[in-house]
Symmetry: C2
Subunit: 218 residues, 2 copies
Amino acid sequence: MERANRILDATRDLTLRFGYRKVTVEDIATAAGVGKGTVYLHWRTKDELYEALLLRESIEVIEEFTAMLRRDPSQVRPCRFARASFLSMSRRPLLRALFAPDLELLGRLVRHPMRSHDLLAADRFHTVAERFELLRSDVPSARYTLSAAMAGFYLFDGMNPKGAELDAEAKADALAFTVRHAFEPAETPSPDTLAAAAAEYISIFRDLIPPYRKWIYG
Amino acid sequence: MERANRILDATRDLTLRFGYRKVTVEDIATAAGVGKGTVYLHWRTKDELYEALLLRESIEVIEEFTAMLRRDPSQVRPCRFARASFLSMSRRPLLRALFAPDLELLGRLVRHPMRSHDLLAADRFHTVAERFELLRSDVPSARYTLSAAMAGFYLFDGMNPKGAELDAEAKADALAFTVRHAFEPAETPSPDTLAAAAAEYISIFRDLIPPYRKWIYG
DNA sequence: CGGATGACCAGATTTCATATCTGGTCACAA
DNA sequence: TTGTGACCAGATATGAAATCTGGTCATCCG
């Protein structure tokens, strides 16, 4: 499994430099100091290798979120959470490329079914958020609306000239503002509510990780 | 000029059926009942022909907006206006394809500089909206934020599985809700304010049309 | 004579055959 | 038992030849 990580590291490094298409399994094996066949002892195909890589990044994000929620439960508030997600993504070119989608970096992988992976289990979080009244109840087609509004900040980013002038923090603030005012109730929930909701988020995250791990390391 | 419109009609019809790439200037000329050379009497290149076509569609949209604002000045409110824009676009595959961007339909045209055309002169409208306090004043990076949030509804649409279940009206409502709550002040502006703002919008639109016309018909 | 045309051309695109590369396997080595 | 790299089929790249198409212009017609 330490070897699996070495292979994933090599995959990440090579891909960031040359992109999915130009990186061969053999390159990866060499860079990781193993034989090509060894890569296939871990994953059945190149795409599964990449799926593992992206899932590992997702786990990192999840662990970041978990630590953040433990430190400060008020980060469950959708506006804060959206902000943190955006910043997490802007620090992770591969995940960003998957969602953006960046043909250069991930090639045909951007169309891979893993895109619809429950990467952040959006639906479950939405349900919890609604139950704790972290979201206002009068949003029409709430899941669609929230997704679409947030997606704008991820998708529009690359194609907006004005976006170049702003740094990631400013964009994250912009997203947070939008979520705060369009999707949250006027009053901030009580600290107790936030703590309880944060705990649920953490537990969803915790349940998410083992299957991901299993997928990655077999 | 009646002939110019016939050529543009043919261009629109053929493009909607076969896409930019598969449509040749000769096809267009034949369908319009003119010689190929005649097309080049109107526009210097195929791309200019398409630019003219998209500008003509823009004019139609502008005229729709103008009529709408005259009928009901309260449609200047950003939420209403965003709603109407979204619906206008969903009825116009070519404009949508330009912004979406749809490679199938418009080919390399989606990268054409006309994308940054001041199609709806967003900046000027923003300035007017701010002056009449149609927009709240505390939005960080206001232009970016509003653009990004709205763009989500246009861009995310095609790639969201949930989007298929909703019709254009529902999505437009979703957008309107977002704009209403994230970007507008709590109190609705007075009818007088709305009327005045609407008048300014109309005049900006009016100034926009002649140069477009000139571009289209030379 | 001036506006319209379509034959024509260069360069872009497609096609097709060949050569190369690469994901994936497996017999064998450590 | 674990790991390897030579090997293979199919995918992809290459390049030359054939085809197509945007754009021009000498000619024609009203």
